[in-house]
């Protein structure tokens, strides 16, 4: 595996890594909303500036961050052409019955920019926050809902397990496809129907191993006396520091300005 995969934690010790997960999750949410809520170019400038600053602070490799854009490629592609062809306005070009407009071009580009920013913010959050911190933060943020009967701790556990196995499964896909290639199968060539059939030798073993892993994990948790019900204490308590306060204030200020300015 030669690339940092989307959703993978990237262990390092940067200012962004040290921030409280609750602050980071709140900031990520704000930065995801801002490009949609902003009306004035200054709002968008602030969003891009903050995300850019976070990207620099995270020290995540540029290639990896750009790689995450692939996850939204097709969606962006369709969104762009949808807006491009359906937005009314000043005509830019008319070919036969199809008329495209300047407004359409801008609206399409805006959608692409929003989706890209969304992908990068999500990637930055998971790159700089370990799965454990992520769930801890989520549990802390959802804890008020426990009073109305939401099984917050169980949800947290499910999320931890799911996130923990994302890189494992990517690695496993890689190993299994290599092993099948060693059995004489070229998985990435041939006509489309052949390529679809070629996914079977990869996904059947992958699912089998996922089920096996789930069983083993359940037994291992049982064996260590895991129970979600009695209140569990944690080794690391979340405490807000001065850096957290500053980060929260910056995002809050930029967000407010970005949304209010017209």
């Amino acid at each position: 595996m030669n690339l940092l995969l989307p959703g993978m934690y990237f262990a390092a010790d940067t200012a962004l890594h040290r921030l409280d997960p609750r602050v980071k999750m709140g900031a990520a949410m704000a930065l995801m909303v801002l490009p949609f809520a902003a009306r004035h170019p200054i709002g968008h400038l602030l969003a891009v500036g903050l995300v850019g600053a976070a990207a620099v602070l995270s020290r995540a490799p540029w290639r990896a961050l750009l790689g995450t854009l692939r996850t939204v490629f097709w969606l962006s592609f369709f969104m762009f052409f949808f807006y491009f062809f359906t937005t009314p306005g000043r005509p830019l070009l008319a070919l036969g019955g199809v008329r495209v407009t300047v407004e359409g071009l801008l609206a399409g580009a805006l959608q692409v920019y929003r989706l890209c920013l969304l992908a990068v913010v999500a990637a930055l959050l998971t790159y700089t926050t370990s799965p454990l911190q992520l769930t801890h933060g989520l549990e802390a943020m959802l804890s008020p809902l426990a009073r109305i009967g939401l099984p917050v701790r169980e949800l947290g556990m499910v999320l931890t397990v799911a996130l923990r196995f994302v890189p494992t499964f990517f690695e496993e896909i890689e190993t299994i496809s290599r092993a099948q290639r060693a059995r004489g199968v070229d998985l990435s060539s041939g006509p489309p129907w052949q390529r679809i059939r070629n996914t079977v030798p990869v996904f059947v073993p992958l699912f089998l191993s996922a089920i096996r892993r789930a069983e083993e994990l359940a037994v291992a948790m049982e064996a260590r006396g895991f129970r979600s019900q009695p209140h569990r204490t944690r080794l690391y308590q979340l405490t807000l520091t001065r850096a957290d306060a500053i980060a929260a204030l910056i995002v809050l200020a930029c967000g407010t300005i970005g949304v209010l300015i017209r």
Binding site: A11, R63, R178, A182, G184
Partner: protein, 283 residues
């Protein structure tokens, strides 16, 4: 097939903090029909090296030539040569997906574009080679077999490709001693029957002793020793210095020698060890 590895370097997770150099400038040449063991401690780059020989990885630097053609190239010549290299990964049964043993073993041959009769013949032959009765096993569900049987089915799937080069990455890991000895004896018989190049990756040096003529020792991504099996495995101190345990026979003879017995320490198979001890007693 002639295999030539030229200053091969491989780096995992390049450009991330998890970056790890698995191979550093490995040079190696393997002649057609040679029986070679590759050993080294965990993380020494054994598996990475053999995956390069099978053309499954792209080198960071250097190259692997199969009969003069770069192994990982996307050309028809390279593809044809890769097809002649059969590699069984560690725990190869983890890659099984078919509904019957027959279809599982036939998977590789089918993709070679063989006709149905030839495929059926190869499946029978391959199952017999690994010691499974084709009539009793062909229609069974692979996942309902025992661990040892699953391993044999998976290995049969590689043998059915009739490769000119067979690479086995820890083929006996996790099997009981009798199963290990039986599988290795059968693979050896297969090698003698076909005359193929045989590359065995293992850190069980005593298993390797009777099976290969040459041993390549890897440590930290580099070749630290390469020579005749007896020469490499008989040198207990060198094996220990790279973090491997010498074969038990070598340890025994070393102990006798330390106690003042004039024994050779490079006897590897049990008969040789016994006759060496008997010779000293009778002297």
């Amino acid at each position: 097939m002639h295999i030539r590895v030229e200053s091969l370097t491989h780096i995992y997770a390049r450009g991330t903090p998890a970056e790890r150099v698995a191979l550093r400038g490995v040079d190696l040449e393997i002649e057609p029909g040679e029986r070679v063991g590759i050993s080294g401690p965990t993380g020494s780059g054994k598996s990475t090296l053999v995956q390069h020989i099978a053309g499954l990885l792209t080198p960071a630097a250097g190259r692997v030539l199969l009969d003069g053609v770069p192994a990982h190239a996307r050309t028809p010549e390279a593809r044809a040569r890769r097809r002649q290299v059969g590699l069984a990964f560690q725990f190869p049964e983890a890659q099984m997906f078919e509904v019957t043993v027959f279809r599982e073993v036939a998977f590789g041959p089918r993709h070679l574009g063989l006709n149905a009769d030839e495929i059926a013949a190869r499946v029978r032959w391959a199952l017999e080679m690994v010691g499974l009765d084709p009539d009793a096993f062909a229609d069974r569900v692979p996942f309902a077999l025992s661990g040892g049987e699953m391993r044999r089915v998976a290995l049969a799937g590689i043998l059915a490709l009739k490769p000119q080069v067979l690479i086995l990455d820890e083929p006996t890991a996790g099997l009981d001693p009798r199963g290990r000895a039986d599988i290795l004896a059968r693979l050896r018989a297969w090698q003698e029957q076909t005359g193929a190049t045989f590359i065995l990756v293992s850190h069980h040096l005593d298993e390797m002793a009777g099976l290969v003529d040459r041993v390549v020792l890897l440590a930290d991504g580099q070749v630290v020793a390469d020579g005749p099996t007896r020469h490499i495995l008989g040198d207990g101190d060198r094996l220990r210095s790279v973090g491997l345990s010498p074969p038990p026979g070598v340890v025994l003879l070393e102990a006798l020698r330390a106690a003042g017995w004039p024994v050779r320490t490079d006897a590897l198979v049990i008969e040789e060890i016994i006759s060496e001890i008997v010779r000293c007693i009778e002297r």
